[in-house]
Structures are given as structure tokens and as C-alpha cells.
């Protein structure tokens, strides 16, 4: 009873809290990093160096009046933010944060597919938000979003096939263990796939330079134009949670998950003294930082250019990558 019910429930509770707290602090991190990139200080007023801004923001959003537009479809309008946040949180159940069984909730044999499929549910949140708002800019945004997310989902899924071929398993823990056996992070074996997943991940999380569905300069905020208060906050949480998911997936698939650098080199054994989860969070942080850095640097693509990149560049390259991986795998 303790092993099958209580411990998993405890782990879920801890993980959910950890994710939600880290998501709120992600907003602070993003504001700070972008501020530094722009030679500003960022939030400085709430707490030392603005650290408590991450708490002040949610409090403000919760206390704000929650407005539903008069002609909106109230049911769907409320459902949409929930639908976008819940899948982002569910995905964490199969992410192995460390080598020990303590650090993941479950390890299912279709873990990678599970992540892909559950994140694909998240698109409903955006589409419904745009439709339910009964407003033109959100509708345009949600049409953009549905096309964008489906296209990039194809590209990412295709790319992950080659990773699966290399690892020989779909289980997230299994993939890390395969890297341990190979003595090499898959980032070095599958550099093309890594880049593709990174680009596709940016597009799937609606991050700059692919933040078409929000594009505040074009669509005045896109699908969440009509949202305010807590429901708006849920969209925000979902976006950052998705960012963390992509960073975690990239870490597991390409950068050895919880493994230390060069897991096969004996001489670096002293690195094992650092707990596995620190390696994991360290790597994840690098990618989160990268996402924010990209947002601070690059202009935004246009919708048709985005689709062109997705269909004419990413998908063909992903297919070529599968073929090459397959051939190499057979020859070796």
C-alpha cells in the first residue's frame, strides 16, 4: 500500500509543487535575463534584487478581476486555459530527474511517445481560447497556432524516431541508460536531431522567434487577448511549464539526462560525487537560459516563413536523418 499508493502520491505532490514554483520563478528569470541582455536591471523593487517579484505577480493576477467577454462561450473560455496547463503538467510524470527511482514518478515503456502525445493535447487550449473569445485577433491567432503546432509536431516526432532508433527504446529512463552504455551523450551521436528538436521545441512552445500565436505586435497578444486574471496566469504557467518540458526532454534525449559528462571516462569519476539530479537541473537550466537568450536576440518569423521552414526544411531533414540513422545502425 505504501509503495504503490502513498509514495507515488507524495512524489506527485512534491513534483507538482516544485514545477509550479519553478514556473513562477521562470518568469522572474526570463525578466531578469532579458533585462540584462537589454542593459536594464529588470524587477528590483519587490524583495532583494526583485526576487519576490515571482510571488507578487501571481498574487496580483489572482486578485485581478476575471473578465469574461459578453459574447464569449463561457464554458470553453474557462476550459481553454485548463486544457493548456494540464497536459504540460502531466508530462512531468515520465521525466526522470535523477538516476534513482526516487526521482521519477513512473517509467513507462512508451515514455517518449507519451510525452509527444500528451503535449499534442495542449494545442486545444490555444485553439479553444481563440475560438471561445469570440474576437477576431484571438481567432486569427488560434488558426495560426493550430497549423503551427501540428506542423512542428510532425517534425519533432519524425526527429525523435531517429533518437529512438539509436537508443533502441522509448522509455525515458531506458534512453539515458542507453547513453550510459554507449558512454556517449546522444547529442554527439545525433547532432542534427538535437538541433531539429530544439527548433521544433521552440515552435511547439510558442517561444520567440516562433511566437506567432501571441505576437503582441501583430495580434495584440494573440489567443490570450481577451483573458485576464487567473485564467491568463494559467496560460502563462502552461507556456513556462512547456518550456521546462522541452528543456527536460532535450536533456534526457541528447545530453545524458542525469549522467555526468563523458560517463565512460574513468578519470572523471570524481564528478560522480555531484548528485545526479544536480547534473540534470544544471543541464536543464542551460537550455532554459538558451530559450530566453534567443527570445532576447531574434526578431520574429512570419507565419508563412514558419510553415515553410517546418515543412520544407525540418521535415525533410528529419526524414533524411532517420534514413541515415537506420543505415548506420544496420551497417554497424
Amino acid at each position: 500500500m505504501i509503495d504503490t499508493v502513498i509514495i507515488p502520491l507524495l512524489k506527485i505532490a512534491v513534483l507538482l509543487n516544485a514545477v509550479l514554483v519553478s514556473v513562477t520563478f521562470m518568469t522572474l528569470l526570463e525578466r531578469k535575463v532579458i533585462a540584462w541582455a537589454q542593459s536594464r536591471l529588470g524587477p528590483m523593487r519587490v524583495g532583494p534584487y526583485g526576487v519576490l517579484q515571482a510571488i507578487a505577480d501571481p498574487i496580483k493576477l489572482i486578485l485581478k478581476e476575471d473578465i469574461t467577454p459578453a459574447r464569449a462561450d463561457k464554458w470553453m473560455f474557462t476550459l481553454a486555459p485548463i486544457l493548456s496547463l494540464v497536459p504540460a503538467l502531466i508530462v512531468f510524470s515520465v521525466v526522470p530527474f535523477g538516476g534513482d527511482e526516487l526521482f521519477y514518478i513512473t517509467d513507462i515503456n512508451v515514455g517518449l511517445l507519451f510525452i509527444i502525445s500528451v503535449t499534442s493535447i495542449g494545442v486545444y487550449g490555444i485553439i479553444l481560447a481563440g475560438w471561445a473569445s469570440n474576437s477576431k485577433y484571438p481567432l486569427l491567432a488560434s488558426l495560426r497556432a493550430s497549423a503551427q503546432l501540428i506542423s512542428y509536431e510532425i517534425a519533432v516526432t519524425m526527429t525523435l524516431v531517429s533518437v529512438t532508433l539509436t537508443a533502441g527504446t522509448l522509455s525515458m529512463v531506458g534512453i539515458v541508460e542507453a547513453q550510459q552504455e554507449a558512454g556517449l551523450w546522444f547529442g554527439f551521436v545525433q547532432p542534427v536531431a538535437f538541433v531539429l528538436v530544439l527548433i521544433g521545441g521552440l515552435a511547439e512552445t510558442n517561444r520567440a522567434p516562433f511566437d506567432m500565436p501571441e505576437a503582441e505586435q501583430e495580434l495584440t497578444g494573440g489567443f490570450h487577448t481577451e483573458y485576464s486574471g487567473m485564467r491568463f496566469a494559467l496560460f502563462f504557467l502552461a507556456e513556462y511549464a512547456n518550456m521546462i518540458v522541452i528543456a527536460a526532454v532535450v536533456t534526457v534525449l541528447f545530453w545524458g539526462g542525469w549522467l555526468r559528462p563523458f560517463p565512460s571516462v574513468e578519470i572523471l569519476g570524481f564528478l560522480d560525487l555531484i548528485p545526479s539530479w544536480i547534473w540534470f537541473f544544471g543541464k536543464m537550466f542551460v537550455f532554459l537560459y538558451l530559450f530566453i537568450w534567443i527570445r532576447a536576440t531574434l526578431p520574429r518569423y512570419r507565419y508563412d516563413q514558419l510553415m515553410r521552414i517546418g515543412w520544407k526544411v525540418l521535415i525533410p531533414v528529419a526524414i533524411a536523418n532517420i534514413v541515415v540513422t537506420g543505415v548506420v545502425k544496420v551497417l554497424l
Binding site: D73, L113, S120, Y124, W131
Partner: protein
């Protein structure tokens, strides 16, 4: 016991959501009920130890096909009720009666077939050299069912071409 609870809860959800799909006035609501129904079916697959299919169900149905439906429903932004125009020759009640007949027939088949001895497992016939749900499906797809598999891929290709042709402006 776990399976019993899961089965009844899921069956209730699947059927009630399915009824809402065919009765909802608003097409978008219909689509959302459809997604939820499919997600429940996916959970049912997990109960039935078909993890791969569960994931595929979510990925293809919920994440792909139904998004297409939603997309089309939003494009076909209907101002008037589609049900407003009624063909005088339409026989709605007969349709309902026919559906009832289908249910009766199916129930008859179920009762008839399960009143006899249940058939024994035929695992021996298709013993596969691999373990695990995904591996076994993969094995079967690429050995015994290779040709249907390829035909299915051609079918998908044809469907893709067809969809593009149909969606083009000049038709």
C-alpha cells in the same frame, strides 16, 4: 477489482460523452466531447494492457484528427443553424429506429456468442520472439503484416494528395 471500477467508470464516461457528441447543439462543443471520449478510450486501452495503442490513440486521434475537425469547424464558421433546413423527405424517427435495431442485433450477437464456450487463447500461433507491447506490435507489422503496412502507408499518401487537391482553390 481495479479493472472493474476502471471499466465501469470509463464506460460511463465514454458512452455519456459519445451521447453528448451526437446531441450537442454547438459543433465545437461536439468536437470537445469527442476528444474527451477518445481520451477515455485511450485510458481504457491502458487498462487492456495496450499502452502503445493508448499513446497512438491520443497522438493520432486527439492530437491530430480531432484538431483537424476543430480547424474545419472554425473555418466553416456557421452563422445559421445547420439543422435549420429540413428535407421533407427526411425520416428522422426511422433513423432512430434503425439505430435501435442495430443495437438489438449487436446485443443478440454478443449474447449468442458468449453463451457458448469461450475460445481458448491462440497465443501459440503468433508467438513472437520479442517481449513488450511496442516491440510485439512492431514485430508483427514488419513481418506478417508487412504488405498491409505498406498499403496503409500508400493509402495515407493518397489521402494526403487528395486532401491537398480538394483544398485547393480552383476546384
Amino acid at each position: 477489482m481495479g479493472e472493474t471500477i476502471a471499466f465501469y467508470v470509463l464506460s460511463f464516461l465514454i458512452l455519456s460523452l459519445a451521447i453528448m457528441v451526437v446531441t450537442a447543439r454547438n459543433t465545437v462543443h461536439s468536437v470537445i466531447f469527442l476528444v474527451m471520449s477518445f481520451l477515455c478510450v485511450a485510458v481504457l486501452y491502458v487498462v487492456l494492457r495496450a499502452e502503445f495503442l493508448a499513446v497512438i490513440q491520443v497522438l493520432v486521434y486527439a492530437g491530430g484528427i480531432v484538431v483537424l475537425y476543430l480547424f474545419v469547424v472554425m473555418l466553416v464558421n456557421l452563422s445559421g443553424e445547420p439543422e435549420a433546413h429540413e428535407d421533407p423527405r427526411r425520416l428522422g424517427l426511422t433513423g432512430l429506429a434503425l439505430a435501435g435495431a442495430v443495437l438489438l442485433e449487436l446485443a443478440g450477437i454478443v449474447v449468442y456468442s458468449y453463451s457458448r464456450e469461450p475460445s481458448a487463447p491462440v497465443a501459440g500461433a503468433a508467438a513472437s520472439p520479442v517481449q513488450g507491447n511496442v516491440e510485439q506490435i512492431g514485430w508483427l507489422l514488419y513481418t506478417d503484416y508487412l504488405i498491409p503496412f505498406e498499403v496503409a502507408s500508400v493509402l495515407l499518401l493518397v489521402a494526403m494528395v487528395g486532401a491537398i487537391v480538394l483544398a485547393r482553390r480552383e476546384l
